[in-house]
Structures are given as C-alpha cells and as structure tokens.
C-alpha cells in the first residue's frame, strides 16, 4: 500500500477536504483518464508574422483556448513557433482597440474621443474627398502591411486615383529581390532541405524564422549532412548552430562573395557547359573578379584568406546542391542591391538554378487575380511622388524613405492625407522624428489596426480592425522550397470582439460614401470563388484540411524556358544596368570605417519578435520584457560599463537609454538591439517607456538602386548613464 492509498483509505482525506472539492478528484482511480476537452477545432493561418503558418484553433464556448499547428500544413512543417502560440495573447490583449477613436488634443497627446462607426466612416470619406479635390488624388498616401486584406487598400487607392501606395517591403527586402530578379528574371526560393552546403550571410534563419527554410535548415544539417557556414557580426543562434561562423566586418559581405567567385573561376570549379548554355557574361565576370583575391577579401572582412579559398572550393564541390542563401532582410547598406547581386552571381556560378538543393523558380499555385477597371482622373499627377528618385524602385512597393522625404519637401507635389492599415512606420522606419514630421504635415491621417501602435497614436482617426481569428480573408497563395505551392484562407474562429470590423468592410464603407461603391460591391466569399475559378475544388479541400496543394512541378521548370532578362540567360553581367549607367557587376567599395569610440548599430530579430507588433504581447513579453544593448565585453570594459548598467546611446538623429548586455557574442565595433520597444503610445502598456526605440536612433540612408532603407549605416556613441 502506498502512502497515497493509505492516506485515502485511512479516511484522513477529511483533512484535505479543507482544500475544497477538488479533493474528490483524488478519489478517482489513479489511472482514470482525464476527459478530452470539449473543443471545437477550426483551421486558420497564423498572422503574427508574414509566414502564414497553418494552424488549428481549439475553441471552447466561443473562446480560443489554444492554437496548435496544422500537421497537414507542409509549408510550416506542422509547427507553430512561440509567436504563433502567443497569437491568443494578441487577440485577447486588453490593450486592443475597441471602438473608433477621434483625436481630440494635439497629435501624439493621447486624447481621444469614442465615436460611432457611421460617424467615423462619414468623416474618413469626407476628409479623403477634401484631400482629393484640394491636392489631386495623388495627394493622398496609402500604406499597408503584409496581410490578406492589404490588397483592398491597393484597390481602394487605385479607384480613388492615387499611385502613392507604400508597403513595408522597402524597409525590408526589396534590394535583395531586385538583385535576384535582375540576375535570374525572377525572385527564387531556396531549396534548403536538399542542399549540401549553405552559406548564410545577412540572414539569421534559426531566429528570424521563415517557413519552411528555418525548419528545413535543421533537417538538412542533422539528417542530410548539409554544412552551414554563417557570416554575422553577432553570434546568433544560427551562428551558434553552424559548422563555421565568421564575425564578418559589417558591410564587407560583397568582398567575401567576390572572392568566392574569384576562386571558383580561377580554379575552374564551375560546370563549363552549364555556364556556357545558361549564363551571360562569364568572361567579363572573370576579368572583374581578378582583383578580388581571397587575400584582398581577408583584409576587408577579417576572415582568413585560406578559409575563404577553402570555403569556395567546398562550396563548388557540393554544387549544384549548394547555395549562398538569398536571405530576406536585405536593408543594410546604400549599395545593398549590388551586395545582393554578388550573392546572386555566386549562385549563378554554382549552377544551382532550378535544381535540387539550389535556387528554385516560383511554382504555379493556381490562384487567379480579380481584375477591375479603375476610373481615370484627368486632374491627377503623372507619377508617384517617389518616382525617378532611384533608378530601379519597385513600382508596387514604393520606397517609404524616398516618399517621406518627398512629402516633407512637397516635391514634386503635396501629399496631405494618409491611410494606413496594419503597418507601423513610426516603429519600423528609421529616423522616427522624421516620421513624426511627416505626420504633422498631414491634414488627416486614418489608421486601421488592432492596437494603438505609435502610428495610430499619431493619427486623427483610429479604427479598430478585426484580428485574424475574427474575420473572413481572401485566399492566399503560398510557396517555399519544395514544401508546397499551396492556398490558404481564413474563416472566423470567434465572433468579432468589441466593435472591430474587417479592413474590407471599412474600405467598402468609405468607398460607398465616395461614389466608389461599385468597386467593393462583392463579398469575400464571392471574391474567393473568383480567385479559385481555375481550382474549384480548392475551397472544399481547404475546409477539410485547412490547406490546398497545387500539384505543380518543383524542379526543371526552366527546361526549355527562357529567362526574363535582356540576354534571356542568367546575367552574371547585367546588360540593363550597363544601359542605365549602373555597375553591371558589383564593384566593391569599403564601408565607412567606424569612427573611433563609436559603434555600428545593427538590426536583427529573435524567434520571439515581429518588429513592433509583438512588444506588447503579454506572453512574449515574459521572454523579452525589454530590449538591451548588446555590447562586446572588451568595449564595455573600455567604457567602464558593466552588464545591466543603464547606457545612453546617441546617433546623429536621436538618443535613447537602455540596459547594456555585456557579451562576447558581438564584435567590438558593433552594437545591437531588438526593435519594437519604447513606444510613445501609452496604450501599449507593456512596451511604452520600456527599453529603447531603435528607430529613434537609426539614420535614414537608403539603397541607391531601389530606395530600400539601409539600416546598418548608423554610428552611435555609448556612454554609461550616471544615475
């Protein structure tokens, strides 16, 4: 007889009865299975970052209890990360916006008045009309983040008549996209799973999770013997799990890549037949990279020359199942496009295009667009406000920084209205003071969001939007690696909370008040049916599995197909750049030396953070209550700074205070902090006044080819804050 049994048998349970009725449970048979919860399981897709991982929501009495991965969702490999799990905390965040709010005091003062929806929509429509008649349709700017409803902002802008639409992308990845597009004719996916050798530079895939690449990277390493070499000024988790890690001098990745090309070409380690058939410009490239020896790169990058040469040989030996990982967040320097072109060129030399373990072309997903004819406005401007300021901007993404400067200068015309959905330039664009100035320039700013972000905080009218678990979303096509070409949709998991409305309904409401109702004269269900007109079975399959897969080809898509470049081949040498007076091949320029007693501030992420949108999440907050400044042990010692000391960080554009994290995991000339903290908005109770805002510090340089922000060109001073 065990003590437990005795305790029960002896009747002494009465003593425990003081503990309440729960004791009765103890009388049950020891093994009595716990009953299964009375869950309703419903499919959806995550929305805490851009990946859209498949999930199953467990719902009880109309309340979401848990979000679980959808095991049938191959793109996310049947997982849900910490942020995905914390989705519940976002949806049930007590700080969520509950009703339409109209600003009462000065901008940013935080005085709001609750108004009814009808009044709010009337006002938004009226103000937009005013801006349009006073400043032409292009006098209104529209900005939207990554979301399944964001396309309706674009649609609205177009029928309203404005070309001025910006996304988050020019604060993130457009220079990388440009570089690969201009080399291959399209932006590739990386077949990480089947790769044997991966060089990861300017990406941190075990922390900044991208599905399926992050998961596949581990499978490739652990199960397929893939070798991972990481270049990063920080000892990230990716660096920590790599076979080799080099704390590269920030801004010198191009020298490393050109040296790889030098070795591969000099030692003829490429497949001559492939290069001859598929690429353009090998002779020019060979000539160009002669100067970029491993010795030269070693001095620039602080990576030993023999290692560079060896890595080049190993990489070429593993080709074509080898790659320079394309990366995603490519907003780093003023020559980011050219830096990424160097990445693309080495991949070209490896002959990995359209092959297992290399770079893959986009697959057919099966979805169709839903076209419409936008009205024409004679009185309108000729072009976007950010047009012609950089040579190769992406028309549909724009450049946020170029736009902001143009707005501030009224150059070439004024913009006085701004509509923003689910993006937070106040918190994600460098030089926050300038974004505030831009806000102050506006006659009327409308923000639709689920939380009082800093951008909403500075707006005139704030409209509460539905979260991803409360609304009906259009279908979205996703792909990645060999995982899948799939389609997802979202249906409401719970009733919309408070007075929240979907962005689509908001747009519809405003459009109807502006005589643009005909362009929003449909339901999302009807829209989905149009999107899936070529794959009519998709909607049903999604109801059953939470995802629909298009059985399209993975490899060899380009067999017998020509590349969408001028030479109709992979362009090692870019003819179009030559015509435009840009360097047809990447020319290395040394990054500005870090001034004495200063540091280069670099940005980055961890697996628990999505920019500014998670800093106020009560679950994630428990892991990262505040950001810290990573400061090398040696540098800290020189400055008399101890771990945990409060430090002041100052840059040419601002100053912030936060605690120092003294560590060996960063170079002596570099500092790092997480983004998203120290919000101005007091309605973000967990992130307000906590840590430091990186965007208050970052200067607003941009890539000269695409207008992509360059986030790694700011130097800061760090001093111990004396209490």
């Amino acid at each position: 007889m065990s003590r437990r049994d005795f305790f029960k048998a002896s009747g002494l349970v009465a003593a425990g009865a003081l503990g309440g009725p729960a004791l009765l449970g103890g009388l049950k048979k020891a093994n009595a299975a716990v009953p299964a919860p009375a869950w309703d399981s419903k499919f959806s897709a995550c929305d805490i970052c851009f990946n859209k991982c498949g999930l199953i929501a467990r719902v009880e009495d109309g309340v979401v209890k848990k979000l679980d991965p959808n095991p049938k969702f191959l793109k996310s490999r049947g997982m849900l990360c910490a942020r995905g799990n914390a989705g519940i905390a976002q949806v049930y965040d007590p700080d969520r916006l509950k009703h339409p709010l109209l600003r009462k005091g000065a901008r940013g003062e935080g005085k709001w008045q609750r108004i009814p929806w009808d009044e709010a929509l009337d006002m938004a429509a009226q103000k937009m009309e005013e801006v349009r008649s006073k400043y032409t349709p292009c006098g209104h700017l529209f900005s939207a983040g990554t979301d399944l409803h964001s396309q309706f902002v674009g649609r609205f802008a177009e029928v309203y008549g404005s070309f001025n639409v910006t996304s988050h992308e020019s604060l993130c990845l457009v220079s990388g996209n440009r570089a690969f597009l201009d080399t291959y004719g399209e932006v590739p996916f990386a077949d990480v799973l089947n790769s044997k050798y991966i060089i990861m530079a300017g990406a941190n895939r075990f922390e900044a999770l991208v599905t399926p690449d992050s998961m596949d990277l581990m499978t490739a390493i652990r199960e397929n013997g893939c070798k991972l070499v990481t270049l990063d000024p920080r000892y990230t988790k990716t660096a920590a799990l790599s076979h080799e890690w080099y704390p590269v001098r920030p801004g010198t990745d191009m020298a490393f890549m050109l040296a790889l090309a030098h070795v591969i070409i000099a030692e003829k380690l490429y497949d001559p037949q492939w290069i001859e058939e598929k690429t353009y410009g090998i002779e020019m490239l060979a000539e160009h990279v002669k100067q970029y020896t491993p010795g030269f790169a070693a001095e620039q990058c602080s990576i030993p020359a023999e290692d560079i040469a060896r890595i080049a040989r190993e990489l070429a030996a593993a080709a074509p199942a080898a790659m320079i990982y394309p990366g995603r967040r490519t907003s780093d320097y003023e020559n980011s496009t050219q830096i990424r072109r160097a990445f693309a060129i080495v991949n070209g030399l490896l002959g990995n295009w359209d092959k297992p373990g290399g770079l893959l072309a986009a697959r057919a997903v099966g979805l169709k667009g839903v076209p419409y004819d936008a009205p024409w406005y004679d009185e309108n401007q000729e072009d976007r406000i950010d047009a012609h300021k950089v040579p190769m901007m992406f028309e549909h993404e724009g450049s946020f920084l170029v736009t902001r400067d143009a707005v501030l200068a009224d150059d070439p015309y004024p913009i006085r209205g701004w509509f923003i959905y689910k993006t937070n330039p106040m918190g994600t664009a460098p030089n926050r003071k300038k974004t505030i100035e831009m806000m102050n320039k506006m006659d009327f700013v409308t923000v639709v969001d689920i939380a009082m972000s800093d951008t909403a905080w500075m707006a005139d009218l704030v409209l509460p939007s539905q979260s991803y678990l409360e609304r009906t979303d259009p279908c979205s096509g996703l792909q990645g690696s060999v995982a899948c070409a799939c389609v997802v949709k979202r249906d409401p998991i719970i009733e919309p909370m408070y007075e929240s409305r979907s962005l689509f309904d908001v747009m519809k409401g405003i459009a109807g008040r502006m005589d643009l109702g005909e362009y929003f004269d449909f339901t999302i269900d009807e829209y989905r049916r149009k999107q899936t007109r070529d794959i009519p079975e998709a909607l049903e399959v999604m109801d059953r599995d939470g995802v629909y897969y298009n059985p399209s080809k993975v490899y060899g898509i380009y067999e017998g197909r020509i590349y969408k470049t001028l030479s109709k081949k992979i362009e090692l040498y870019n003819q179009r750049y030559e015509q435009m007076g840009l360097d047809p091949m990447p020319v290395y320029t040394e990054p500005t030396k870090v001034p004495k007693n200063q540091f280069r501030l670099v940005v980055g992420r961890d697996a628990l953070t999505t920019q500014t949108s998670t800093a106020n999440n009560s679950l994630l907050h428990q892991f990262n209550p505040a950001n810290t400044l990573w400061l090398n042990t040696e540098s800290a010692k020189r400055l008399g700074i101890n771990d945990g000391d409060l430090v002041e960080v100052s840059s040419p554009v601002g100053r912030q205070e936060l605690a120092a994290e003294v560590t060996d995991k960063i170079r002596t000339d570099t500092v790092y902090m997480l983004s998203g903290y120290n919000t101005l908005s007091t309605m973000q109770t967990l992130s307000h006044n906590v840590g430091a805002s990186i965007n208050e510090l970052l200067d607003d340089d941009y890539d000269t080819v695409t207008g992509n922000a360059s986030m790694h060109t700011t130097f800061v001073s760090v001093t111990r804050k004396v209490a």
């Binding site: 437990r4 305790f7 679980d68 997982m79 849900l80 799990l241 890690w245 697996a607």
Partner: protein, 245 residues
C-alpha cells in the same frame, strides 16, 4: 511490459526558439513568470571559424523519473508514480501545497503554481492526449526536436528512437540520480546541471520503514498536518520555510 511514457529529445536539433515553452504556457495556463519547461544552454564561448562553438541547447521539463525523489518528499501521496504509464503525477486534490517536493526535485522541475497554490510541473498534457493529439510542446516544436511516447512500445516514434539510439542516449546527471525518463540523442551539453534532491528527514524516515508504517509515521509525525497548517496560515505569503529540509 508496462508503458513508460518519456521524451526522447534530439538536443542537436533544438534552435532555442522557445516555441515549446510558449505552447506549454498557453496549453496549461501556467501563470505569468512561471514555466513547466525550459531550454538550458551550455556556456559556449563563441569561437570564430571552424572551431565555432556548436552551441548546445537542452530542452527540459519534469522527467517523470524512475526514482522520483519528489514522490519521496510528498507527505500526502499527492505526487506518485503511475505504475501503468510511468508518469509522475500530481493529484491536485491531494496536494496541500506544502512545497516539500520543490527542493526534492534535483532538476528544479517543480514550482508552486502562483494561482492554484499547489505543486505544478509537466504532466505530459493529459487533456491533449485524451483528445488524441501530442503534448503541446512536442506538437509545436519547429524542428521536432522533442519526441514523446511510450519507449517500451517499439511501434511508437519515441520507442523507435529510443531503441535505435540506445547506446548513445544521454541523461541529465544530478548529484541525486533519479533515473530520469528524458533521453537525449546527440550531445545535450550541460549534462550536470542537476543538483541534489532535498527530501525532508521525516519523509526519508518514512521511506525506510514498512510501507504502512511509513504512512502512519508521516501522518502521526504531524508532518502532514503541520505542513497543511502552514499552507493554510501562510496564505499567499512567502513559502521559503517550506523548502527547509
């Protein structure tokens, strides 16, 4: 053979993303600032180049030990090892929140749930298993580093991994070897973070005497009632004294 539910973890796959920790907290309504599971990290000085540290991240939680010292320390029998499944269970109906078991676990797997005011730890998510789905941490893990199941069942994924890697499986070693049922494939780093189990003398005495007597000693020795009293009196205050052995 009876079941032995266990975790077989490929530590080399862990990327320290904390998805398992977040999932566990939501699935089990673990109060703010408290955790049923964790990732330990070996102290790896970053070494540039080829010698790069190869950090080791070690996922953990209660290991449902074969020799669970927490069971020895429990005066009421609330904590016991289920002979049918090999789980170490806390019967919350019997738990008086005395906190004896906290220092009795050499791995720090237990804590006093700040809301329920009872002992808490990993319970392999029984509600989820009843619903036919894996424990939350296992289900959500991006790299599928955590694998859960009956290691005595060669048909299960855990059993298969256990059999296949039998010779090189590692366990966390503590000064008190409780024979944990958490097995690591690959080098989990920090193998020795376990401490020493601190079991109250009265409970040790119980363990050494005959089973029935043991219980009587436990009860008549006022251990239970005294501790029960303390729990009731101390209310939401500091329970540090409970950890005195």
């Amino acid at each position: 053979m009876a079941q032995q539910l266990a975790m077989v973890i490929d530590a080399a796959k862990c990327i320290d993303c904390k998805a398992c920790v977040a999932a566990c907290k939501v699935a089990n309504s673990v109060p703010e600032g408290q955790f049923r599971n964790w990732i330990k990290q070996a102290d790896d000085a970053p070494v540039p180049g080829k010698a790069s540290g190869k950090a080791k991240f070690q996922p953990g939680a209660c290991m449902h030990c074969d020799n669970p010292t927490c069971v020895d320390a429990c005066p009421t029998g609330a904590t016991y090892k289920d002979p049918a499944t090999g789980e170490v269970v806390i019967d919350h109906g019997l738990c008086i929140g005395c906190g004896n078991c906290l220092p009795a676990c050499p791995y720090g797997a237990r804590f006093r749930n700040a809301e329920k005011r009872k002992a808490d730890k990993c319970n392999y998510c029984p509600e989820r298993r009843a619903a036919g789905i894996p424990p939350a941490c296992v289900d959500t893990c991006p790299t599928k580093a955590r694998v859960f199941g009956d290691i005595n069942d060669p048909e299960s994924e855990a059993g298969r991994l256990y059999q296949k890697n039998k010779d090189q499986l590692a366990r966390v070693t503590a000064r008190t070897d409780t024979k944990p049922n958490m097995f690591y494939i690959g080098d989990p780093g920090t193998p020795d973070w376990g401490g020493e189990a601190v079991v109250p003398a009265s409970m040790v005495a119980m363990k050494q005497t005959a089973p029935l007597l043991k219980a009587v000693v436990g009860l008549s020795g006022l251990g239970v009632l005294a501790m029960l009293g303390r729990q009731l009196i101390a209310g939401s205050g500091d329970h540090k004294e409970d950890t005195d052995a």
